[in-house]
Symmetry: C3
Subunit: 186 residues, 3 copies
């Protein structure tokens, strides 16, 4: 009798192990294994703000130049950036990392961009990098890009990042809120 | 005797569970969990077609300009695109999404490119994006790039996409067939 | 008694299977499933070396041009490359593949770059590609970027690549050592 009870217990344990083998993949509602919210601040060079600028146009279509964002919703402007990352929405808060990479405005009819960039951390709280790529239809309230990898504290990370334009001033300053949801953590 | 039979059953179940723990990773022949075939259409701005163009040169080497593709197999030309995606090979079919991003011709001796781009869908059939990156040796009949992530319907997608040049006209119009094979679906 | 011993054996086997279900994910020290070390060689076009150059500036900020790397630590320079990959640190060794893609200098205060590129192999030893993306703080002795995907022999690969500047000559020649550690192999 005892043997049977042990077998039953084992069997239940076995079923349990089966159902939790790919926990996040089987459930319809996924829960991030790590979640982080940051802000980053993009100040585009416009010919007058070289001291403060954190970004510059380095590619532009034939009909434009690199000091003024192109017409037709900036189509073709390729921007390189090194933006401070902060924990709150204040540009003057102590940066806890840098957002570095490129974006390119890629549509004539509406503002939309394609992004390839990294968050680079080297503080007591976070060491390592998170790498992102994806489309950014700027006019949507929120839009998701992919977390395509990570290093250091974020070794092998995968997930998504939800971007939200938190503020902008003219065509010079943009503040983005980034809600990073990692679904693969090592 | 019965206990032994139950133990045997359990053991077989156990072996089964072991062998199916990573089904797609163990078998030599992988089957995609999702497969999608699309066409996208790239019309490069050449100084005369600003109305129809879906792509423009925004970076070029010192020896070239942004209206004509560079000599030496366009080495150094960086193109931004927002191309319609269709279900068949007809440019005039109703687009079901947009292919957005960049490519850059990266070899002097032969046509070859590096791509970073997204498929962006917002239709009843597909909502979300698929993100791609990889080398595109254009002269090969087929070439594979990586699916590096996805959002919405394609949440956390990974896989490969097989590109094929379906047609081209001069140096203005290119039509690519894309066979997307996802091997990680959530 | 025998039944109990079998149950015990089964139970131990069960625990073992649990602990090895995600071997690399559970252990604190991860072991790569594949490891590869290569060198690649970047010769930037400077107006005089068009024959030997493997890379060229194709994007530059408003204050610079495409023949000389920009001041302020080359901030804003976007470079397209097609560099030979070798097994040892000799530029003149037989290349076993090509490193192709882009990098962009993205910080004014110090040398640092963002990379999107692929290793493309078509030899008897390796066929296929490995795709990379990430931040490259050049002044650090080693820095990690992400392996975001692969094709052919490197189908579905994920991992990291540790870059090391092995040598440089002026602002023209750079030799990088790349230690590729794959943690997902199919």
């Amino acid at each position: 009798m005892e043997a049977k009870r042990v077998i039953l217990a084992l069997f239940l344990l076995f079923l349990l192990s089966k159902s939790s083998a790919f926990p996040s993949r089987k459930s319809r509602v996924h829960k991030p294994c790590k979640r982080l919210v940051f802000y980053f601040h993009d100040i585009i060079y416009n010919g007058k703000n070289s001291k403060n600028a954190t970004a510059a146009i380095v590619g532009a279509p034939a009909w434009s130049n690199k000091t003024i964002l192109a017409n037709q919703n900036h189509f073709g402007d390729l921007v390189v950036f090194d933006d401070p990352i902060t924990l709150d929405n204040d540009l003057h808060s102590a940066p806890i990392g840098r957002a570095q990479g490129i974006y390119v405005y890629d549509k004539k009819e509406i503002f939309t961009a394609w992004l390839g960039f990294s968050f680079v951390f080297n503080s007591t709280e976070h060491k390592g990098s998170i790498n992102f790529a994806g489309a950014d239809p700027l006019m949507n309230k929120t839009r998701d890009v992919s977390v395509i990898g990570g290093t250091g504290d974020f070794f092998m990370a995968r997930g998504i990042a939800t971007l939200m334009t938190d503020a902008f001033e003219g065509e010079v300053y943009f503040r983005l809120r980034v809600d990073i949801q990692l679904y693969e953590c090592w």
